[in-house]
Every structure is written in structure tokens, then in C-alpha cells.
Symmetry: C2
Subunit: 316 residues, 2 copies
Amino acid sequence: MRVPRNLLAALRKEDTFLVAVHIDPDGDAIGSALALLSALEVLGKKAFVYSRDPVPKYYRFLPDHDKFSSRLNDMIKEDPVLILVDCNTPARAAVEGLCFRKSIVIDHHETEKDFGDVRWIDHTAAATGVMIFFLLKALHTAFTRNMALNLYTAISVDTGTFRYSNTSADVLRVSAELVEAGAAPNMVAVNLYESWDYKRFKLLVLTLNTLEVKDRTAVIHITREMFKETHTSSEDTEHFSNFPRMIGSIKMAVLLRELDGGAWKASLRSRGDVNVARIAEQFGGGGHRNAAGFKIKADLKAIKETLFSAVRKFST
Amino acid sequence: MRVPRNLLAALRKEDTFLVAVHIDPDGDAIGSALALLSALEVLGKKAFVYSRDPVPKYYRFLPDHDKFSSRLNDMIKEDPVLILVDCNTPARAAVEGLCFRKSIVIDHHETEKDFGDVRWIDHTAAATGVMIFFLLKALHTAFTRNMALNLYTAISVDTGTFRYSNTSADVLRVSAELVEAGAAPNMVAVNLYESWDYKRFKLLVLTLNTLEVKDRTAVIHITREMFKETHTSSEDTEHFSNFPRMIGSIKMAVLLRELDGGAWKASLRSRGDVNVARIAEQFGGGGHRNAAGFKIKADLKAIKETLFSAVRKFST
């Protein structure tokens, strides 16, 4: 992976940086930003990491996660160069309307806008963490254990710990180097997958009890009553829609969550030829081919029936 | 990893081989044996793969899995050299009492007996698949896509797809080479983790509903009635005890399965300092520090209470 020279030049030349991640940051955004922060500090720079939203609790095992701050005004005073990590527009990072001396973008998502004085966007990269790995190599900063752990986690999150189709030989090779530098695969896996609150697990069991399967579609739902009963919230439902996908015959899995006032939020996940973005659009929502969503105000039973017929229509 | 010279010499010198795996073979045994079979064939040797038990259905995506045979007599006639793979005694491979001209052992498990004219046993290897990888390299047989897929799956199974503590930098590097040679990580993961029968998933949900948590111990159980209701059998319960381990506070997870005549089979899984082998021994069973089991004839409620108090006693 080739790191753009103007990016290296900008990082070397400038003295103060504000590293910003997207709203609702995931492990790739958080781990990438923290590793970059460490590298900038090693280079003798002043750097901040900004996130509008708090670091989700299941990522709080990451070293330096407490360096994230949402106090933008304190950082802006220092007149920093902006570095957007794992996103590519100011709005996505909640820094829109602010003025920066210079702006840098490091991301692996598709771009619609061409924001940034220096742009490094590689949507073939499995994770922004992989890009930061090569950036740190090009900057010749040694990998500390903390940098390695942050980057290994970033890559783990965006590849489903080497289970998604973006897992390439390079991804595994980069991860091997990070393990050599001190990242512990089992420790990361336990923190990501085996550190659930008991109440969250109870909610999962209640949710799986609602499973209905028809026409290769699995639908599960969570009522407000279920959240109340288990003292949980929507934050606890991450990855729930992956569970019905363990069934080999399932082409689409849907999680319905009850909102206030009789509305429901649907999260659609598919594999193969079912385009859930097209299904979501029918309901005024949107998303990607294999992950999409929408909101709807209707009776639960009616929503389910409509979904079952939609998958028949769109799996061609 | 250094491959013993006498092993290479024996494989080069001899002409006919019987590659045998342990009873109830897992993915590491099956994938390793099939990759070795291919390599021997490339070298112009005659070779058989023997398994007393059929290849479990969830490993039937592996190339050449249909080459496994249990017809030992047909193979013995050819006067082959025995190669035990992923095990180290004839009894474990169900070939005890038979006479072979020569015997070879390739395994990463602890040994109690010193069976084998040529022995390569490395219990630091994460999987026998890793050892076969280095063996094939030393034999200079090129990696075909099929060999790569078999070995990648072998390593995936024994490392929990890079989540267990045996996942080293070397494991990731070897896997990178196998991906380069044609193994597809997502395809393997979908076959291993997302190809459940619907009835198996139904049994899982029923089982999770029985969850009881006390003293950092999670107990789930399956009655004969539940098997009957879902048209499943004990084969379908593999990995069930991993699910309660998703709860961060759990130190031991127990799966109880009802047998005929009022008996129960207990599978114990722990992490950290809980030695489940010692708990299983109290009930006349045995196993390893973090995975053990026993059979007991008692009332379900009584078994659970005894287990809850056992973990208090043995977590020191």
C-alpha cells in the first residue's frame, strides 16, 4: 500500500493536529485515531483526538481511549490541522462549519464530496486501521504495544476478526506484524465478543424467542417492554441481527426495534443476491446492498408480512 | 518450524501410506489429513485417508472429503505405512491391534505413549494444520487451492478463527500464505459458523431459555424432550456451551444433556483460574483445565446446585 507523499510531508511539517472520528464511532475509527495520535506524539507533535460521541463501553479496553474529548473549543484554540479518520466529510465527524488552517482525510469509505486539502482515500482497504499501519511504517515510528493493540482491534472490527470477505492475505500479514509488536488476539476477541453484560444476553434470548422464518427471511423483534424488562437500551442490540444469519438457509435477517409512538426501526442484513437497500427504499429508508434500514409506523404483524413478501420480490 | 529430517526421508522413500485421523474427527484432523493426502499424491505416492467415523456434515465443504473411507481392510491389503495425524496412539485412531510396516506420528497434542517409528510432536503448534503446512513446504510440493483450503480450515477450527490464545504471529503469517494460495476466509467462516440447520438453531434458542446464572457460573440444559421437539440429536449441540461465555462475568459455562434412564452428561468450559478438570473429577469425570466433562445420574435441580457450589470451592 502506497502512502501519498503529500500526506507524509503535511504530517512532518505541521505541529498541531486535531484527529476527528465519525459520529457513533466504531472500533476501526477509534483504534485508528488512537494509533495515529500516538505516532504524532512520538514525532513530537501536539495532537488531540475528538469524538462528538463517547467511546462505546465495549471499546473502553483500548489504550488511551480516555484521551478522546468532545470539547472542540479547547482544541480549536490551538489552531490545529484537521485529520478526518475513517470518514471524509466534516459533517460526518460533527466538525462542520468550523474553519481549519488545513485539512487531511484518511478513509476507506466511498466518497461523495471532495473535502480535504490532502486526501488519502482507498476503498480497497479492509479497514482504516490497515491504512494507518502503512502510514506509521512510512513515518518510521516504531510500533509500541499500545499502537499495535489499537490497530489490531481496528482491523478486527472491520473484518469480523478475519471472517468477512475483505480479509485478504495482506490483512493477515499486517495483523501478524501487529501481534509481533504486542497485540494479543485472544485478549482482543474476549473484549469484543465475550464481555457482554448479563442483561444484554437476557435481551438476546428474549429477542431470539421472537424469531420467525419464512421465505429464507428471518425476522426478530424487540418491544419497548422487553427493553424495560431487561433494563437495556438500543445500544445493547448491536450485532443481534447476526444471530439468525447463523442459519444456512437465511438470505435476509431483520431486526425490528419498537420506538416511541407505535413506530418501528428495521435493520436489514443480507447475504448474496438479496439487495436490502432496494427493500429499505420501498419503506423510505436506505443503505447498502447487504446492510440497510428504515423506520415505519405500522402494526408489527403487518410489517413482518410486508417484509416476507418483499424478499420474494427482490431476490432475483 | 523445523520439520524432522527422518520424517522427510520416510515420506520420500516409502510408496504407500495410510493417513489416519482420530475418532470423532474435527476440522484440524480432517483438513490436515486431506492436505497431506494431496501432497503425497503430488509426490507420486499411493495414499489413503482413513477415519472410523464419518466426516461431520459441517466439514463436508472441504475438497476431497469424500476420499475418507472406513474400509480399513481394503487399505491394509496394500501394506501401507501408517501416518497418524492430529493424534498419537493407534487406539485414538481406531487402528489398534493392526500391524504396519512402519508408523509415523504428526501431532500437536500432549503424548502419554511413545508410539511411532517416526514421531513429530509439537505441542506448541496451534494446530496440526500448521505442522502440515511446514511439512509441505519442506517437501517442496506447491500449494494447490484445495490444499490451501483444507489447511486454512484446519487452522481456523483449532484457533477459533484467530480468537483463541494460541493465535500467534506465525499462525497469521501461515494463514496469509494459504489465502494467497487460494483459501477464501469468508467462504470458510460461512461454512463453519453460518451454515446451521434451522432445527439446530431452534434447539439453541430453547437451550438458552434454560440459562441459570449464579456465582459466575452459567448452566444451560437440554432434555430429551427438547431434542425430540426439534428433531435434533447431541451432534447438533456442538459449541452450545460457548454462548453463555459471551457474558463477561461468567467464569464457567456448563451444558447438561439428558441421556437415557435419568442420567445427564455435563460439558464444562471455563476461562481463567477455574480448573474444570478438578470439578469433573469430583463427579468421576475428567478433562483439561478449561474443558472437561462427566456423566451423572441425579435430579437436574440437584446437579445444578452441586455445580454452583463446586465453582465456589474451586475458583481460587
